[in-house]
């Protein structure tokens, strides 16, 4: 028997029957939020389609034809797929094994490993890519130097499809780690114990029992890493373009960079990419729906008994230490080293002795840097605050009301999941170059881009918190005579606060990291931090860049620590 019906229909009914002329605050607020959602998601998509498929008011497939008659099209398709598949092949096993070791075994140093495995999450993509270019540069990169000492002196060429896969794969490993850790955490350990007790070896238990049990999460990880790789901009731009390895995102970028920009061509590539990611996200959503029922993600401090590694303990520890060293410590340490140098030089006792804080002084005093800091913070905090409040209201509509079309609102808020950042950028460019609203060239266009991109994240945090507020808490407020708006402010909002704060910080973090929309939408004077790093890279300001990067990572790490603490308390699984 459904007993959650009632209040909405009923209030709406009364509104329509008796006070038709004076809409309630509830109707005003909810309609407003739905309209903002539609504005954020549908308008850019509509303009993108229109721009791509019309020419002078007439329908045309000219741009699509241009896009698909390009000489290197075949090559682009192959390298896009190779890049996406390769990234998944690297990141999924790596993240899965790390998650298994931290969540389900008695391996020592699990706490530090957990933190270390998540650290790359806060490193902006652009910084991660540059850090790897530094590490592997032929003469002065520490990794190249180490390799040169090995017999046969192998070399790494990071500017290749393999280099791209390596860097992107390491960047996405923490994401797989999070997804798989959640799955392992909610697994019944007795299933493994039974297998062990019946004499199976540990690797056999892992492959025959453990992995099949977390199959949904595994498929989800594969899809998510594939989608993320297809959407990735930083790695293909910095590592692919110099050698002519093109993927969708770099093609979009190229179409807009040349003078005059070819919006039709960019749009055609953008829409192609959109179609592919939509299909993958659709698959992912279906997977989620099917497996959700069997997953328990709660805030309870349920800690399953762990599997004893036995003689596999040594290899496990060596594996974990190698991963952390290569993926986390080396890039960051090298960045830290470069940030203390006057010139980008090979590390030696001499250069370390000559360390200087000049680059940090520059970072904290140069007006351009300070402006970028201000812009990033303003945008991050602004977007996070707006999204958290909007999605809090929307989550009531989706989770608690029985209003017609409430699931449409949820779908509306999920649309940006399939729109790559670069495509959001292209779409908004098209909109605001056409529409006579003077926000192009201001921070507002970036603000709108961030709102659009992170709407799904805000919605996820808000609605999972809303599910935890029992409906009787709301009903008893109505019975007490409170209006909807009063109840929302006095009962829902205070109870949602932990989830909203976690979501807020999370959106601040991803906003500060954001590059792929910002790179298309910024204008001189409105640079954000990630764009500034991009510019410093192009200008060859490597040491200043390193210092700025270190500061950024430090700030983001503090924020992540806070969000994890809050997230753990309310039982939210975050997905970067």
């Amino acid at each position: 028997m459904s007993t959650r019906l009632g209040e909405t229909e009923q209030t709406f009914a009364v509104v329509s029957r008796r006070t038709r002329l004076r809409p309630t605050s509830k109707v005003v607020v909810l309609t407003g939020v739905v309209m903002i959602f539609a504005f954020l998601t549908l308008v850019p998509l509509g303009f993108l389609l229109w721009q791509t498929f019309t020419e002078g008011g007439a329908l045309t497939f000219d741009a699509v034809a241009r896009a698909y008659s390009a000489d290197a099209l075949g090559g682009m398709a192959v390298s896009s797929v190779t890049f996406a598949v390769g990234t998944a092949v690297l990141a999924v096993p790596l993240g899965t094994v790390l998650a298994y070791l931290t969540m389900r075994t008695d391996m020592p140093f699990k706490g530090p490993l957990f933190v270390a495995a998540l650290t790359p999450l806060v490193i902006p993509g652009i910084l991660h890519t540059i850090a790897w270019i530094f590490l592997t540069s032929p003469r002065i990169g520490p990794l190249s130097q180490l390799l040169a000492m090995l017999p046969g002196s192998p070399t790494i060429d990071i500017f290749s499809i393999w280099g791209m896969i390596w860097v992107e794969g390491l960047h996405l490993t923490p994401l797989v780690f999070l997804l798989m850790a959640a799955a392992f955490r909610s697994m019944d350990p007795s299933l493994e114990e039974v297998a062990l007790a019946s004499g199976a070896s540990l690797p056999r238990v892992f492959t025959r029992i453990t992995l099949p049990l977390v199959k949904p999460a595994l498929f989800a990880s594969i899809l998510i890493t594939g989608i993320r790789a297809l959407e990735a901009f930083e790695v293909p731009a910095l590592l692919g373009i110099p050698r002519g390895i093109w993927v969708f995102t770099s093609r979009i970028w190229r179409a807009l960079e040349r003078v005059p920009s070819d919006f039709g061509l960019a749009g055609a590539f953008a829409i192609s990419l959109l179609v592919i990611t939509s299909v993958l996200v659709f698959l992912y959503a279906r997977l989620g729906k099917r497996s959700q029922r069997y997953q328990t993600v709660t805030g309870k401090g349920f800690r399953p008994r762990v599997v004893s590694l036995g003689r596999w303990k040594g290899p496990a520890v060596i594996f974990a230490i190698s991963y952390v060293t290569v993926a986390v410590v080396l890039p960051l340490l090298n960045l830290l080293y470069i940030s203390t140098q006057r010139f980008y030089a090979q590390p030696s006792l001499e250069t370390i002795a000559n360390a200087t804080f000049d680059n940090y002084r520059y970072t904290f005093t140069h007006p351009q840097v300070l402006r970028a800091f201000r812009n990033s913070m303003l945008l991050g905090i602004g977007a996070a605050t707006a999204l958290v409040l909007l999605t809090a209201v929307a989550s009531w509509l989706v989770v608690r009301s029985r209003a017609r079309g409430r699931s449409a609102v949820d779908h509306l808020a999920s649309i940006p999941l399939v729109i790559p950042g670069l495509v959001v950028g292209v779409a908004l460019l098209v909109v605001y170059l056409r529409v006579p609203v003077p926000i192009y060239g201001t921070l507002w266009i970036l603000f709108i881009a961030y709102l659009t991109r992170y709407l799904p994240y805000g919605m996820r945090y808000s609605s999972s918190s809303m599910y935890q507020v029992g409906s009787e808490l709301e009903e008893s407020a109505y019975v007490s005579g409170a209006s909807w708006w009063y109840t929302f402010r006095r009962v829902h909002l205070p109870l949602l606060v932990p989830g909203l704060v976690a979501g807020w910080i999370y959106i601040v973090i991803v906003s500060v990291r954001e590059l792929s929309s910002s790179i298309l939408l910024y204008s001189p004077g409105n640079e954000v931090l990630s764009v500034l790093i991009w510019e410093q890279w192009e200008n060859g300001q490597f040491t200043e860049l390193a210092a700025l990067g270190v500061v950024m990572v430090a700030i983001l790490m503090v924020l992540v620590a806070v969000v994890r603490r809050l997230g753990a308390r309310i039982g939210i699984r975050e997905i970067a």
């Binding site: 009632g6 229909e9 009923q10 019975v479 007490s480 209006s483």
Partner: protein
């Protein structure tokens, strides 16, 4: 309100008189079952009507899914009925014929939820203050008056010394009192209680049962109480409506419900009953009937229209039966003891009858008959209630 439809409401209001606080008439509520994909209608409340006398406790009793909670939620305004009329204290809350349905937050009722629904971010005082704070500024009492009212109601439920305690620190029983205080602070014309005791442990439940009854009597507040627990219903209510499948099976005082169940369902749901299937063989004057069963003949009085040939069930409670040794030639109501159990204040015997039916008999602890013994059931025919049979 115009035309003939309006008259029924007015009539309902006038016929209720002073003694009636609540009128529920022909209430129907359907839900869409099984989500949006399959549009199946499920009728949760199917034509429920009753009145509640002022200052009394009225209980909706029935198994889960019988529609009792939905009925209560319709009165509260949390559900919108498809059909029906609800009048509380002369105010028409719902009248589907007139298109009236007062929003929940304008009904001014007090309600205690099954989960208590105590707001965890507020302390005890703030929880009770919420209904007052939610009033429009014009109607809000002065802060001194507010404080006095809250202190008074906290005193009534004996929570005065916990005023500033966070609500989450309270025990189950205290949360229950707090929920009650919050429901009473506006001095509502009607108090709605939705299984308020079901979340308490057995001992506390019994304590709170008496406590609730005492409060209800002392405050003289009209109350509609929803429960699936027959002991709560029997011990606390002035009147009980037994519900099943969205319909009311019987309305009556606790004794009537227990002693004179009107249907097989009520007989089976309230207490433990032995049912003997039979047929009316002779219909005499003054509702006297002779009922022939497999086990023997009964001369009883019935309350419903039961002509000759009606299939009936004779209901006898286990404690109304005595066991006797079988005298020679006796064939009516004979069986043999199959099992016995000492349950503290009584001894229960299970008797297997000639036709294979099992009968439960509750005797004083001094009676104890070993299994295998042949016995005869003895009961007064006036203790036997006859209900329509299958």
């Amino acid at each position: 309100m115009t035309g003939s439809t309006a008259r029924t409401v007015v009539e309902a209001e006038s016929t209720t008189g002073d003694g009636t606080a609540v009128v529920v008439e022909s209430l129907v509520k359907t839900f869409e079952d099984g989500g949006s994909s399959s549009r199946k209608q499920f009728t949760a409340v199917d034509g429920v009507s009753f009145i509640v006398e002022r200052g009394t406790m009225f209980t909706l009793l029935g198994p889960s899914g019988c529609g009792k909670t939905t009925t209560l939620r319709c009165i509260a305004g949390l559900e919108t009925p498809d059909q029906g009329t609800i009048i509380v204290d002369g105010r028409t809350f719902t009248s589907t014929t007139n298109g009236i349905n007062l929003p929940v937050n304008q009904r001014g009722l007090g309600m205690v939820f099954q989960s208590y629904a105590i707001w965890p971010h507020l302390d005890v005082y703030q929880n009770v203050a919420f209904p007052i704070k939610a009033l429009p500024r014009k109607r809000r009492p002065s802060s001194r008056e507010t404080r006095a009212r809250i202190e008074r109601v906290l005193d009534v439920v004996q929570l005065s010394d916990l005023e500033n305690r966070p609500a989450t620190d309270l025990s189950g029983g205290q949360q229950q009192r707090l929920a009650l205080a919050r429901a009473l602070v506006m001095e509502p014309p009607l108090l709605l209680l939705d299984e308020p005791l079901s979340n308490l442990d057995a001992k506390l439940r019994e304590e709170m049962r008496f406590e609730l009854k005492r409060l209800q009597r002392e405050l003289g507040i009209t109350t509609v109480y929803v429960t699936h627990d027959q002991i709560e219903a029997l011990s606390m209510s002035k009147k009980i409506a037994v519900m099943n499948g969205g319909k009311i099976e019987q309305i009556g005082r606790p004794r009537e419900i227990y002693d004179k169940p009107a249907s097989r369902f009520v007989a089976g749901f309230i207490g433990i009953s032995n049912l003997f299937a039979g047929v009316v063989s002779t219909a005499g004057p003054d509702n006297a009937r002779v009922v022939e069963t497999d086990l023997g003949t009964l001369r009883v009085r019935v309350f419903a229209d039961m002509p000759r040939g009606t299939q009936v069930l004779a209901v006898v409670r286990p404690e109304q039966i005595e066991l006797d040794t079988v005298s020679d030639g006796e064939t009516e109501w004979v069986g043999s003891v199959r099992a016995r159990a000492f349950v503290g204040d009584a001894v229960e015997h299970m008797v297997r009858m000639r036709n294979g039916a099992d009968v439960r008999v509750k005797s004083s602890p001094t009676v104890s008959i070993p299994p295998g013994t042949k016995v005869q059931l003895r009961f007064a025919e006036e203790d036997c209630t006859v209900v329509p049979g299958a």
